[in-house]
Amino acid sequence: METQIMSCESDDLNLKATELRLGLPGTDPALEKQSSNKRALSEIDSCSDAKNGEQDRRAPPAKGQVVGWPPVRSYRKNCLQQKKSETDGSGMYVKVSMDGAPYLRKIDLKVYQSYLDLLKALQNMFKCTIGVYTEREGYNGSDYAPTYEDKEGDWMLVGDVPWEMFVTSCKRLRIMKGSEAKGLGCL
């Protein structure tokens, strides 16, 4: 048992060294360790696991994802897949509203790689300035602040959580006027 765990750890290190990181700097290393621990001890899995985003780019998916695991019946997977494809599979469209604008827009979050990308696109689309995000102050000082509604129905400031987490939990965006957003920036 000891040796197996040891080999797991050393694989861990190798993966870390070569792995592309998509998260914001300062992402919790424990979370990353968890994802690389998914290396199986069985002989089926022989190629390295990758983070969510890289999954699709890997050549034969067969070895990384094991047949019949997790044990969910295909009927159920297919039913839910249909709904998912409206969100994850082929683009992840969310509505974007801006205070004062006459109508809403829709953007595909999958198209962007990072917050920087997204904010640039939003600024272009709505012809506004959003400014720079800081953890302490949010977007204080700018004309507008981007906010989003998450899966639980709460309105959050864009930028607090790692990009991946944001993409999967964002249901819609709202670009608030800076004056209204003041409260959000202060901790």
Binding site: Q4, K38, L41, V66, W69, P70, P71, K151, T168
Partner: protein
Amino acid sequence: MREDRPPPTPSRGGAYSPPPPDQVLENVLEHVLQFLTFRRDRNAAALVCRSWHRAEALTRLELFIGNCYAVAPRRAMERFRRATAVTIKGKPRFADFNLMPPDWGANFTPWVTFMAQCYRALEKLCLKRMFVTDEDLELLASFPSFRELVLICCDGFGTSGLAVVASKCRKLRVLDLIEDEVTDDEIDWISCFPEGETCLESLIFDCVECPIYFEALERLVARSPSLKKLKLNRYVSIVQLYRLMIRAPQLTHLGTGSFSPSEIVAQGDQEPDYSSAFDACRSLVCLSGFREIVPDYLPAIYPVCANLTSLNFSYANISAEQLRSVIRYCHKLQIFWVLDTVCDAGLQAVAATCKDLRELRVFPIDAREDSEAPVSDVGLLAISEGCRKLQSILYFCQRMTNAAVIAMSENCPELVVFRLCIMGRHLPDHVTREPMDEGFGAIVKNCKKLTRLATSGLLTDRAFSYIGQYGKLVRTLSVAFAGDSDTGLKYVLEGCPRLQKLEIRDSPFGDSALRTGLHRYYNMRFLWMSSCRLTRRGCKEIAQQMPHLVVEMINGEEEEVKDDYVDTLYMYRSLDGPRADAPSFVTIL
């Protein structure tokens, strides 16, 4: 043991000769044994002596075949000549997860063929994981008293088979299709029910992925006054649901279909008052469906929440907040199935209200091992604290802790079924980084009524030592990607006297472990081991030592000759030797 005695001699000259005492006893026995319903009791009675065996066989009305290959149709039906209700189970459960090539077997045809001779009076049939053809259904439909058909996880038939059943079974009361794969033969089977009042009590077809002709369904429901259970497929829109509900306010079980409008509903469109339709269903206790739910319509179900004992949201992509708005009324809920989109917060809401909860299933919306599951140990802990009467749980997650599992073992002593699926393989406790041994150990130790256990996460042989030591009532055990060595499996085979069904995949157990179970296998329904460390020789040894065991080696699809290891071992006891219908990829040792 008594001999078969000749029939009593007829009286002569009008004098009455009372039947011999044996005959009296047997008549009495038959009358008394009629009242025995539990299988286990009947099996025990049949072992007393030959006359009890005979009497029991003649009075058994419900025949249960746990493994269709354990006994030949002829033998079963000749012993129990008067059975009118039959249940047959076919493929092992891991076949549901594509671990078995198609066309493996579990064919219903040999059974129905024999039934056509021996069981013409058949009334009820329940099949699980069997391969059923349209022709089989057609033959069934010809039985004059046939009235109840329940098919669970079956395949091989289509809507044309359903059409025949609908049109020819004049006494049909129950047609329940549950998680079957039904091919679309483009036949409007609903229209095939005969005109006039039907005796339908239950019509469940939510798994049938074919459009139906709604007007025919509406007319059918309107002329089925005894209909209590109706579960629609996703091709029924919410407007259509409304029309059905107002015709059937007597429903007790409802599957709502898509629960969304069929077209975009524009602002200002006149929509029916869905809430009033639900309000009219005063007897509704079981609600499911919501296959394509538009959450705006959820409030329509508020009127029935207080009476619900069973709620299935496992196809509904709803948030914690949306769930909260419903669950707060569901005080009587006993069975709850849900998607993990409700997050830990949603589960906390369930724990706060559903004090009577007996069964909980939390399914993943994204069933991939590296998905981000929004439920975790937090949700499990909340449930354990709020729902003390919990008996059965199935929980998919990515993050779990031993502490939460231990808490559940202590808070929920009534647990009979504990199935935890940590989707990432070999994941340890996400806080302590330890294996999940202690958690599962606590479950087997503290839950004294536990009969079914499914493990996951990083587990060492120690977990299995706990299972062997404490899992004295465990009948079904599912293991995947767990253990370190043969010792793990040995603990289980030596320690669990009630073990019936053991299914293992991708775990490092080999021939030596297999050998330690020799004393067990005749008392088990089956053993499944796939992608473990068994060799052909090891399996052959078992086959040679145990003549009444059928030892199947099933080869996976692609044949890269890996190593000596057997892909899949599936073995089970049988009274009638190896089956004759094994396909080429199955080798029976």
